[in-house]
Symmetry: C2
Subunit: 310 residues, 2 copies
Amino acid sequence: MKHLLAIQSHVVHGYVGNKAATFPLQCLGWEVDALNTVHFSNNTGYGTVKGTKASAQEILDVYEGLKLAGLSYEFLLTGYVPGEEGVEAVGKVGEDLKTNNPSLIWLLDPVLGDAGRMYVSEKTIPVYQDILKSGKVTLVTPNQFEAELLTGIKITDRETLKQALTAFHTTYKTPYVAISSLSFSDNDNILYSAGSTLDKDGSTSTYIYEFNKINSYFTGTGDIFAALLSDRFYTYHTLKPVPDPLSVAVGEVLGVVQQILKITDESARKSGIKRGEIGNAESMKQCELRIIECKDIFGDATVPYKAQTI
Amino acid sequence: MKHLLAIQSHVVHGYVGNKAATFPLQCLGWEVDALNTVHFSNNTGYGTVKGTKASAQEILDVYEGLKLAGLSYEFLLTGYVPGEEGVEAVGKVGEDLKTNNPSLIWLLDPVLGDAGRMYVSEKTIPVYQDILKSGKVTLVTPNQFEAELLTGIKITDRETLKQALTAFHTTYKTPYVAISSLSFSDNDNILYSAGSTLDKDGSTSTYIYEFNKINSYFTGTGDIFAALLSDRFYTYHTLKPVPDPLSVAVGEVLGVVQQILKITDESARKSGIKRGEIGNAESMKQCELRIIECKDIFGDATVPYKAQTI
């Protein structure tokens, strides 16, 4: 069995954080240990939400329990943590796991915000930067806005994209970087994904993928991207190694994520919703990712997107 | 889609409570909203455990969040809740859901203890009795010890079994009762399951199933039984109605649970563990139910156990 520890949010209803990651990874044969950083009724886009946040000490305590039980992991997936002390705690967990098992793969999804708006305190930015500087993170998956916040480089075209991706390799020594979706002002109907690998000789391979935008708002897209990428990256990095595991993995994951979004969008439209709108609970409910309906496609590799080197 | 709210424990590692219930129900096509009553590193059988318990107020708050988001359910599954105030809170949630939707099916698994030992305070017994007396519970799934605690009838043979099961109909007006496993002193190698239905004319149909004991200790058996029974009972009660949905459902669920236990036991033995032993973390880890490996058998109906009327 493949053992993965996932540290991110739990929502009772809907699909973000661990709720988005767990079922697909289980379907792909992973034993998923889900350490929840919040316990919320639903994602915050509904306009109303109730629940509790785990303190940094609670996160560390539960991790201590896992150590006492003698558990070990091949993969660590970390995502949304509310507040800088919690992020520090998750950093300690990652550092400890990696120290005890240098072959552990750590995918860090630095959840800070999206589309120019921060979800969390600005104080978390330097904490994520310190974690990245530790050199323990294998693969980082910021979105466009988060990549800008962490590198200080505004991404407006392929050139600045390349600079930002490369900064993760040079400033933070993170060998693999992936961005699930980004846009330039060139075309409103086109989105891009991007990846970058620090090669063994110190050079970098940077690539971009292009796809059509679906005109709606979905939550959890970054979370399902990171979850599926955990599986595919592990496959092509460790189980069936290929020269650049990230570029193959991102191409396949994009194919699956685009199918999930298409199924979700069609299903939402059938229920009478034109598009998801933040703060409108009914539209958010209808735009929840159709994770359950998609159970047979998580492993699909039939429509991989092709990487273009930049 | 079928919408189920599950209120029980969460463990980061392993399969009890919601961690045992969620994946199988999702595989069977349910949208599972998982409201967690505890957030523990692992089940308590390991000898060490770390984590937090949700207060009664936290349970009610999260439920309030679900109401604000306008969510509704066809099925409510409630299991382990630590402490009588939490049980009272879950009772309020069930009563509110049932009042708003009289066709809601509520499966209540009254988790009190097992094999003569209580897990929770004795003060929870009258709270469960009050919930049952409300008449809102559709199906109750105590184990042998819990059925004895709730009815005051010691179950030693078929006659006392029948008395205890019938007491749930007469004292509490609960129409359906099921016990996943029980034993008499007649034969150490044989276990039984039992069910009872309060018929429309006020009479009761009580039945027993016999199967061979696997000589090991597994946690989460009652939880996977209750989860699969939620699916099967809903199928035969609501989707494809049959005259006594419970007896068909229990027969099928037993067939699946026995397969899961067999696969788990064989896998544990291959890892060098002779049997699960409470307090021995290594043996408990190896005896965790093989939920992920069993993903294709949850819906199996090929080896149903046959009910014998008693």
